[in-house]
């Protein structure tokens, strides 16, 4: 059974190649200005013929990295749970490998083969080929039937032709036939070649012109153009759906005309002039001449005439001819070879890939090996015990490396980004982005810390008590470390706008992926969908409610403080958003009818009087509570808006639901919904510090003391000691950073490096480096174990073989131990 998918693929590949080459030939001929008909013919025929090569010889060009396979989000650096010994989803099957291969080679192939089933496409193609063949045959039949209607030419005309034929060395006479409209053309009938000329125009020609035309047609016969043209048409029939193929055939035919014109021209300039004159007199042929070879094809007659009277061919550069012929040859080679970009074989796998991908790639490579030990090793790595043993080996290896790294990681980061000499330091080229991060984080933290330091010192002054714990807490608050610790451990999240501010609300529906991007939690997707579906309705309800509230409060009387306040609030569209927020986010139910219900409720609270609407004092309490709540939110709304924008930027843009949710978070309703629970957004520094230390302190008569509870005091004592110890460790570790800050010329950067925010940026870089340590160990192990020879993976020496054997033995020991499996 032939594979229809493959056939469709090959056909499409051939079509793409043909189209590209036709375009390329056209460009080359136009740019090179090569006029030789022979070169034209070779190039067009090469372009057409190479399309017959459906199954080219594949040459792999190793230039690409292995593409990443789809894997579950790796939460840790643990080795993959590839498979147990039975299920084998991980090792690349042939089909998977082929699919991977195809995806890699996609750069040179049509990107998508479309959705129709391959068999249907093949059927359509075959039907098309058949139909075109029938058309060609029908045209041929028509020409033959017209030939039968053509009459023998006058004896003088036939004699002229015979004379020419003898000059050409033709052994057999070619009958000349006269038709009332067809010709001049050379046609092949079952009885042999015939030259047909149109009666009317032919009689108008001079003998010299007739001779030139007949010479042209005999040149066709001599060159076998009828068969060549038929061959090209059959080639194009396989690409019947591709207009470029037919265009190439037309160009090939045109070049044939030029060749035969050139033959006439070579006879004498006079002949060329006669032919040119004859061409101008002969009319365009009927469409049925396609299967013959006509000397007066209507198209491009002007070009032919110019060529006949031009002298340029004589001056044509041979170099250009060779270039063009070289192009023709390379086309055929291009058709014969398929260059395929494949993954570059690497002894050291690329660092960007995860260990899961590395191990999969390794297993797929091992499966092709003929080395028994390597095969055993591959089988071991497919078993659970083998994977555990390998991971254990790597973790033990990485343990020492991690310890070493932990000691030097800050220095390594500084080396990576700074040129440090004895007396100066300077940022390396390419580290500008880090500078921006450092400066931004530094400025923000300096701004945040200024008030915190003052507040902590004030608290320390107000703290009374002579006991040890109070003294410790006082010392903690007086030092820079105290404020810095509070800032870095707790207050930074509360002070800086971002996702952390909405932990209670957004945290219920979103969770960070391993890369820190937030996605909708699977269990919250339905709820979120219900909310985002109501976005447009909610906005309409908000708009309407805003209008109605403004209108309703416009009638309020008297113009006292309460009414004025209410009127002002009603002018703010955020009030309507606050009212709509709760039903939208809590109940996922927003309807336009709620506007009427609310207004009805307000009407029931108010009384119509001669002066307008009056809200009695007893009804004002509820409205006052709403306004107080609104005012409290209003006071922090700008901070919340900024935080929301920051949070929005961390939401994934990949999923539709996430995108819709991002749009929802741009609305006022979302702003007001999420503003609730963000009371600390605009809190003072003292409020913030007290939000952390409040439980530990008691306040009376303006004096602060520590709580009396002994257990609590012990706990406070221990926590403060730990905090101070942590800060001392952090300060020691930051020593090299401080050194750089002291010597660097860039004052802004120096300040950033000294600030808590800047140090935090460096710390995150260090954590990232440490988390990559296990992966690096794997890469080192891979490099130590394997090398590649002629595309075959092999162990790198006896040591590697020994190591592999050890791992196999350990896995087998584990399996033996696991056979003790009952109790």
């Amino acid at each position: 059974m032939f594979d229809t998918s493959s056939l469709v693929e090959l056909l499409l590949w051939s079509t793409l190649r043909l189209s590209l080459l036709v375009f390329a030939v056209s460009c080359v001929l136009r740019l090179s200005r090569v006029v030789s008909p022979r070169v034209h013919r070779w190039l067009w025929s090469a372009a057409l013929l190479q399309s017959l090569i459906l199954a080219p010889w594949v040459v792999s060009l190793p230039v690409l990295d292995l593409p990443t396979a789809t894997v579950a989000s790796p939460a840790t650096s643990a080795l993959p749970q590839i498979s147990n010994t039975r299920a084998q989803p991980t090792q690349l099957t042939d089909a998977q490998a082929q699919s991977l291969d195809q995806s890699i080679a996609g750069g040179l192939r049509p990107a998508a083969w479309g959705n129709p089933p391959p068999r249907m496409l093949i059927a359509i193609w075959l039907v098309g080929c058949g139909a075109v063949s029938v058309l060609l045959a029908a045209s041929q039949w028509t020409v033959w039937s017209m030939l039968r209607r053509a009459v023998p030419a006058r004896a003088a005309w036939q004699a002229q032709l015979d004379g020419l034929a003898s000059q050409w060395g033709l052994r057999e006479s070619v009958p000349l036939r006269v038709h009332h409209s067809l010709g001049p053309l050379l046609a092949r009938s079952p009885r042999g070649y015939r030259i047909i000329v149109p009666r009317g125009p032919w009689e108008q020609l001079t003998p010299g012109q007739r001779q030139a035309v007949l010479a042209h047609e005999l040149a066709h016969l001599h060159r076998g153009d009828v068969w060549k043209s038929l061959l090209m048409r059959l080639v194009a029939a396989a690409h019947w759906f591709n207009p470029l193929a037919w265009w190439a055939v037309a160009k090939f035919d045109e070049a044939a005309e030029w060749s035969c014109d050139a033959v006439v021209r070579q006879q004498s300039d006079r002949s060329a002039a006669n032919l040119a004159a004859a061409l101008l007199q002969l009319t365009a042929p009927s469409p049925l001449v396609r299967l013959g070879v006509s000397s007066a094809r209507g198209n491009h007659v002007g070009i032919r005439v110019r060529k006949l009277v031009s002298s340029k061919q004589d001056k044509e550069s041979k170099t250009m001819k060779f270039i063009a012929l070289g192009l023709a040859a390379s086309m055929l080679v291009f058709g014969l070879l398929r260059v395929q970009l494949v993954a570059q074989a690497q002894t050291n796998p690329p660092a960007a890939a995860s260990i899961q991908q590395e191990l999969r790639a390794l297993l797929s490579t091992i499966s092709e090996s003929e080395d028994d030990l390597l095969q055993d090793f591959g089988e071991t790595l497919q078993s659970r015990s083998g994977q555990l043993i390998l991971e254990d080996h790597l973790r033990r290896e990485s343990s020492a490396a991690v310890q070493e790294l932990q000691a030097n990681v800050i220095d390594m980061i500084l080396d990576e980004h700074f040129d440090v000499t004895e007396n100066s330091a300077r940022l390396k080229t390419g580290s500008e982005e880090l500078r921006e991060r450092l400066v931004a984080a530094g400025k923000q933290s300096q701004q945040d810390m200024a008030d915190l330091l003052t507040t902590c010192r004030n608290l320390a002054e107000r703290l009374h008590g002579d006991d040890e714990t109070t003294g410790l807490v006082r010392r903690f608050l007086e030092s820079n470390s105290g404020a810095t610790f509070l800032y870095l451990s707790v207050l930074r999240d509360r002070m800086q706008p971002g996702m952390a501010m909405f932990g209670k609300s957004l945290g219920k529906v979103m969770a960070p992926d391993t890369d820190g991007t937030f996605h909708i939690r699977p269990d919250a997707q339905e709820r979120v969908q219900a909310i985002v579906d109501l976005r447009e309705t909610a906005e309409k309800v908000c708009g309407r409610l805003h209008q109605e509230l403004a209108s309703w409060t416009g009638e309020l009387t008297p113009d006292d403080e309460f009414n004025q306040r209410l009127k002002e609030r009603a002018q703010d569209p955020l009030l309507a958003a606050l009212i709509v927020a709760e039903p939208l986010f809590e109940k996922q139910s927003v309807r336009m009818s709620m506007v009427h219900q609310l207004l009805d409720q307000l009407d029931s609270l108010a009384v119509d009087t001669a002066n307008g609407l009056e809200i009695p004092a007893e009804s004002r309490q509820e409205i006052t509570r709403l306004m107080d709540r609104f005012d409290a939110i209003q006071a922090r709304v700008n901070v919340v808006r900024q935080a929301l924008a920051e949070a929005r930027s961390k939401i994934s843009t990949s999923g539709n639901l996430e995108q819709e949710f991002r749009r929802l978070l741009e609305t006022d309703v979302a702003l007001m919904a999420l503003s609730q629970g963000t009371e600390m957004a605009n809190a003072s520094a003292e409020d913030l510090v007290m939000s952390v230390l409040g439980e530990a302190l008691e306040q009376s008569d303006g004096q602060l003391t520590l709580v009396k509870n002994t257990d609590m005091r012990e706990k406070i004592h221990e926590q403060v000691q730990n905090a101070m110890r942590e800060m001392r460790v952090a300060r020691r570790k930051a020593g090299p950073v401080r050194d750089v800050a002291e010597t660097i010329d860039d004052q802004e950067l120096a300040d950033a490096l000294r600030s808590p925010g800047g140090l935090l940026v460096i710390k995150k870089l260090a954590e990232k480096k440490l988390s990559d340590a296990f992966h690096r160990t794997y890469l080192d192990w891979h490099a130590e174990m394997f090398s590649e020879d002629a595309g075959q993976l092999q162990f790198r020496g006896e040591h590697a073989r020994q190591l592999a054997q050890d791992l196999i033995d350990r896995a087998q020991e584990m399996d033996r131990e696991l056979s003790n499996n009952d109790f």
């Binding site: 939460a75 643990a78 039975r86 254990d392 969770a511 992926d513």
Partner: protein
């Protein structure tokens, strides 16, 4: 004449008495011998044959002889449909499904269809989620993420031992790596639930002391506890939890078989030890039997490998070996058990249950929720499922799975509490019986319901034990 008659009668009476005594004597003498022979036969049967539907039935028939149990007949097609629908889809069949099955009563085909039905994976994922983390809520646990993960495993027909391996060894985010939620739920005390659910052993007592009658000591517990020493739950952002392992040093853990880990990945190695162990296969087989038959071959399901072994331990062993041979293909085992005559037998009419025969079981809250909607022909509102489950389980919210069947509240009261209004269906009595009880009414029932408002009939049927129980 009278005396002769009297004499004959007396003689006849004496003969009868002697004969009876003789028979009784022989019976008493032969009883233990017959019992022992029957036990040998069933044990041999379990040991010799790879488990098939027929061999389960053969074993149970031999065991019934051994225990002097008369096996009840098989259930009719309607009741079979109801049983397998409840067990495999978690709900009663719809009326349309009943009518279709009546037209083509092919039981094997039906089981195949239900196992391939999307609701099958959904129901079993809920069942296993409740088994793994109870009905309670925990801030660190993303219940739905776990359920969806299990559902995918069932949908893809993944090997059950592989599923358990991943549950025990999982690392990652609660929201996106569903399997992590089992360990996140039990992060503080993982040994007891892992022992109960996957090994069928109860290590609760050993947590604090060496129980005088228990096999497992505090040392065994501590050895198991060490496997989880490196487990670190963390909260990278408010409301979001992750689970990771760190390398730890110190005392090396020890599995209950005495095996010690050979790597630094202790938890992963424990997962491997558990899923390759025989107790795991036995516990899994017994739990499956428990779910389908209403009680385990060894009751309780979380103590199958405990001290006192079931008299039919050989059957458990045989099922376990079959599971291992089938690469822990869950559906294969479910299919075999559902098509066994043992599963298809009627409940005991004598009122005494026998541990190898099906027993009546009340619906779980999940089954009840979906079945109520099916019976009332109402669409399911998913967000009410949780509320219903909490209302139905009330005090036993965080109990393990097997207690979930012990809900005591009358259904009418529960529906009232849940504000579930009864519809007034426009159906005949026969149609209502088909829709709610999956059977035709008797003549007497038809007569009694004839003039009653439909809503009342529906209420009565929904509040019947026949609806509330798998039977």
């Amino acid at each position: 004449m009278t005396s002769r008659l009297s004499s004959r009668s007396r003689w006849h009476g004496q003969f009868t008495t002697c004969a009876a005594a003789l028979i009784a004597l022989v019976s008493v003498a032969a009883g233990p011998l017959r019992h022992a022979a029957a036990q040998d036969a069933v044990t041999q049967l379990a040991a010799d044959q790879s488990l098939t539907t027929a061999s389960v039935d053969a074993y149970v028939e031999q065991a019934a002889l051994r225990d002097g149990i008369e096996l009840p007949p098989l259930v009719d097609d309607d009741l079979f449909l109801r049983r397998v629908s409840l067990d495999l889809l978690g709900r009663i069949p719809t009326r349309e499904e009943l009518l279709q099955f009546r037209r083509q009563p092919d039981r094997a085909a039906l089981v195949g269809q239900l196992l391939a039905h999307p609701e099958h994976a959904q129901f079993w994922s809920r069942l296993w989620t409740n088994t793994l983390i109870g009905y309670g809520q925990s801030p660190a646990v993303d219940r739905e993420a776990l359920r969806r993960w299990i559902e995918r495993r069932f949908t893809d027909d993944q090997a059950f031992d592989e599923t358990v391996f991943q549950l025990i060894s999982a690392e990652g985010s609660a929201a996106f790596d569903g399997a992590t939620n089992f360990m996140l739920r039990h992060a503080r005390d993982p040994v007891v639930p892992v022992g109960r659910i996957f090994l069928g052993v109860q290590l609760d007592c050993a947590r604090c002391h060496d129980h005088p009658t228990d096999r497992w000591t505090q040392s065994d517990f501590e050895g198991m506890q060490r496997f989880f020493a490196g487990m670190r739950p963390r909260q990278p952002s408010p409301g979001n939890y992750q689970l990771q392992d760190v390398s730890v040093q110190g005392n090396v853990p020890q599995f209950l078989t005495g095996t010690k880990p050979r790597t630094v990945r202790w938890r992963q190695e424990l997962a491997l030890m558990i899923t390759t162990s025989k107790p795991f296969a036995r516990a899994t087989a017994n739990r499956l039997w428990y779910h389908l038959m209403g009680h385990g071959i060894s009751h309780q399901p979380d103590a199958v490998n405990g001290g006192g072994r079931s008299v039919d331990f050989a059957l458990i062993e045989s099922l376990a070996e079959q599971l291992q041979r089938d690469d822990f293909c869950w559906k294969s085992m479910v299919r075999q058990l559902c098509l066994s005559q043992t599963y298809q037998r009627r409940l005991s009419t004598s009122g005494e249950s026998w541990h190898l025969l099906p027993t009546a079981k009340p619906m779980t809250p999940d089954q009840l929720f979906v079945s109520l909607h099916t019976a009332m022909n109402e669409p399911i509102v998913e967000r009410r499922r949780g509320q219903f489950t909490r209302a139905a389980t009330s005090a036993s919210l965080d109990q393990p799975f097997h207690n979930a069947w012990q809900s005591q509240e009358p259904l009418g009261a529960l529906m009232g509490r849940m504000n579930m209004p009864l519809p007034n269906p426009n159906l005949s009595t026969k149609q209502l019986f088909e829709q709610v009880l999956t059977r035709d009414p008797t003549d007497e029932q038809e007569r009694l319901c004839q003039d009653q408002p439909r809503r009342n009939v529906l209420f009565a049927l929904l509040n019947s034990n026949e609806f509330y129980f798998w039977h």
